[in-house]
Symmetry: C2
Subunit: 234 residues, 2 copies
DNA sequence: AATGTTTTGTGACATGTATCACAATGTGTA
DNA sequence: TACACATTGTGATACATGTCACAAAACATT
């Protein structure tokens, strides 16, 4: 675990803007200056805790690089609620809520997080309509995603959910048919609400059926269509 | 099903403000005038569809009175993702997203909804920092709630989830130990991801154990402590 | 290389709950 | 009042998946 903290110069601040790649928010001169003076970048190694449930937080965290998992203590075990890929803001509910982190965020790959002073962030929201609008857009997208995820997870059975995750990793996270599993099998279990053993059995099954090829942590999707079918059959 | 549409005069507009009862947003004179000219109130009877998944929407809906359910088509059946009590905005993700409603909203009691023209609403956001801030706060709260709900629903078994819902109805929705179930048993099943039959059996069980008293749709909570224990045991 | 620790594979078994079936009861409507 | 239709109660059965147990493999550390 290493923390490499450094202050950003102007040349790095721009990395904050493309928060939503589709509709990047232009910041004006003044905004730039404010930001460059009030934020700090921290590097995290794979597995490091970026945000810890229950702790106090006074900064806004912007994930500028890497992949992280959002997880929280459930009634019976730790639950991973989603994977988040840079660029994205982390822990906004804490920023606008009671300042106590309601969930943990842990890096799944090496990651870089940019911390912005909370008052600077709020001023930015106040003075930059487009910026607030972006934040609202993002929160709305998350809400929809939560709804869909919730209805999927609870209605499908384990095979379907695992197929979903494999497709998500391939399509959205790594954008490749072949990738290294960023999570252990028990983490995958926590993500789709099933046991470690079931994950192991299902991966073997998919492998045996020629749908994927498993080689250690390396996964190659051989038959995407089958995966989609599995993911759709309840 | 009856629709009683009427335009609001100034005296009604104020009902829009207490969107978050804790931190009501003060609107200035100008805002008031804009709003009173650009919104319409519609009454819905119990069971009416307020928003229908898949339809196009150009208005912001503000639930000023009543109780509604948010539900969407899941892979195997309709799923109720949450109950929402007035006052609250409905369908914000649609407002800020692609204008196609991603979920349905149906009234569970009689309800009154105030429709605000979308551009008026956006202008309001632009010109009123506090207002945008309220919206962001609300969305953040929803995100947290979604996370917790998701981890509860998937980790607890049916008894625990039913206990949860009964407690929520008593504490948050009706604020009374005794209330009429606003949903049928199959709707309750869709809410906590279990079958209609299981709901029936569990209600009988709770009734037999003296934890609640069931009389038709009327429920009285006799032993809240037991319900809490049940809700916490996975 | 040797050793301890974490992760993975797989069998046997227990169990919560979905599903089917059908009766009973409640509710709205002509 | 009567009839159709939706809701609820309850038994019998099936099955997906959690849990336990233990071996094999992978990985890290000295």
């Amino acid at each position: 675990m290493y923390h490499n903290v450094y202050f950003c110069g102007m040349e790095n601040v721009c990395k904050i803007c493309p928060f939503s790649s589709k509709t990047a928010t232009p910041l004006n001169e003044c905004d730039f200056e404010q930001l460059s003076e009030n934020h700090v970048v921290v590097k995290f190694a794979k597995g490091d805790a970026i945000i810890k449930q229950g702790t106090y937080s006074t900064n806004v965290a912007f994930l500028r690089m890497g992949l992280v998992k959002i997880h929280l203590k459930g009634p019976s075990h730790e639950q991973i609620v989603r994977l988040v890929k840079a660029p994205a803001y982390l822990g906004l509910p804490t920023t606008f809520g009671d300042k106590i982190n309601q969930y943990s965020v842990t890096s799944v790959t090496n990651a870089e997080v940019c911390y912005i002073d909370i008052t600077t962030f709020r001023d930015l929201l106040k003075n930059n309509d487009l910026f607030s609008y972006e934040i609202i857009l993002d929160l709305c997208r998350n809400e929809l995603e939560s709804f869909h995820r919730c209805s999927n997870r609870t209605q499908k059975q384990a095979r379907g959910n695992l197929a979903d995750v494999l497709l998500e990793l391939s399509d959205r996270i790594f954008e490749s048919e072949k990738f290294m599993l960023p999570l252990s099998q028990s983490e995958l279990g926590n993500l789709i609400d099933t046991s470690r053993e079931s994950i192991s059995r299902m991966l073997s099954e998919f492998n045996g059926d020629g749908i994927i090829r498993v080689n250690g942590k390396e996964i190659e999707i051989l038959n995407k269509k089958s995966l989609i079918v599995i993911s759709q059959n309840g």
